[in-house]
Amino acid sequence: MELLKMAGILFVINALTIGGGYAMIPMLQREFVNNYHWLTNKEFIDAIAIGQVTPGPLTVMNAFLGFKIGGLAGALIAMAASYLPCIIIVTLVTKFYLRYKELWLVMASFAGIKPAIVGLLAAVLIFLSQSSITGSLTKGIAVVSFALLTFTKIDPSLIIIASGIIGAFLL
């Protein structure tokens, strides 16, 4: 029952993940942490990190969420539920490409959703930083990570791994 509920939630969230994988985060945080208490806030942040260091899109973090809730079956159901909306929508769009391209409804609603996601992510960022930024060292790691990712082309996985190593020695 729990897994079915999770699958339904992941299906809806992934159908609304517009403009990149990070759009999932505010929705996942609300449903998995606040509403259903399937994960703690800390586990959720760790799930984002795991989604980032594994190859492929951030969606892979949903396997972690599913595993926490229902083991191996949970992880596989989570991934299937996450990709199902993509498969349905993309195959339909590929089939009817020309008609879709001219569909102003899609373009206009996406144009509304994308900036809203920036606002949502900013709110989640404030919330997550309250539990992750606990002292001057964590603040330093966050600031340096921000600067490196914003102003260089360095691989985010490397920054996460390096920060983990710094944490092992100093935190």
Binding site: I50, C86, Y97, G112, P115, V124, S145
Partner: protein
């Protein structure tokens, strides 16, 4: 016409070497599918990228689904998804099992404290980049600010906020 096994193996390769975010995959994708194997033309590739961008979900996986569909219809789409997500999912499951077993280990806790701080920096960078790219005039600024206030202050469910923003988009960007 490539077999499903070949489709699986090519997308497995693409999905396995895609470290560092999805955009690193695009040149790799084009080399494998257009130049090397000639499964699709350059124009089809560009069209697939466009479809990947304007559908919900990870753009690059969606591009793969689109190419898989062009090659072998629904079976091809499913095979491409499976191949592309295989390695990442497997690794995430292994990491999840390891993480949940050793969660109380003090060393892992120290590691994850550093990692959590980096995630904050990473998200901040994403927000900053998206802000510059997407919030360009008063309508998008109002939508971003409205969504922020709705979540941060009024604790409205983000799913509801996204649906509302989509409806507002229909009104605000009708002529776009």
């Amino acid at each position: 016409m490539p077999t499903l096994k070949k489709i699986f193996l090519v997308f497995l390769k693409i999905g396995t070497f895609a470290f560092g975010g999805v955009y690193s995959m695009i040149p790799f994708f084009e080399r494998e599918l257009v130049d090397k194997r000639k499964w699709i033309t350059h124009d089809e590739f560009v069209e697939s990228l466009a479809i990947g961008q304007m559908t919900p979900g990870p753009p690059i996986v969606n591009t793969g689904i689109c190419i898989g569909y062009k090659l072998r219809q629904l079976k091809g789409a499913l095979t491409a998804t499976l191949g592309q997500s295989f390695t990442g999912t497997l690794l995430a499951i292994l990491l999840a099992a390891f993480y949940l077993h050793t969660k109380d280990n003090p060393l892992l806790q120290s590691v994850m404290k550093g990692v959590a701080a980096a995630v904050v920096g990473l998200l901040a960078s994403i927000v900053y980049k998206m802000l510059i790219k997407l919030v360009t005039e008063y309508r998008s600024a109002a939508l971003a600010a409205g969504a922020f206030i709705a979540l941060d202050i009024f604790k409205v469910n983000p799913i509801a906020i996204i649906l509302a923003a989509g409806l507002l988009g229909l009104v605000l960007y009708r002529r776009a």
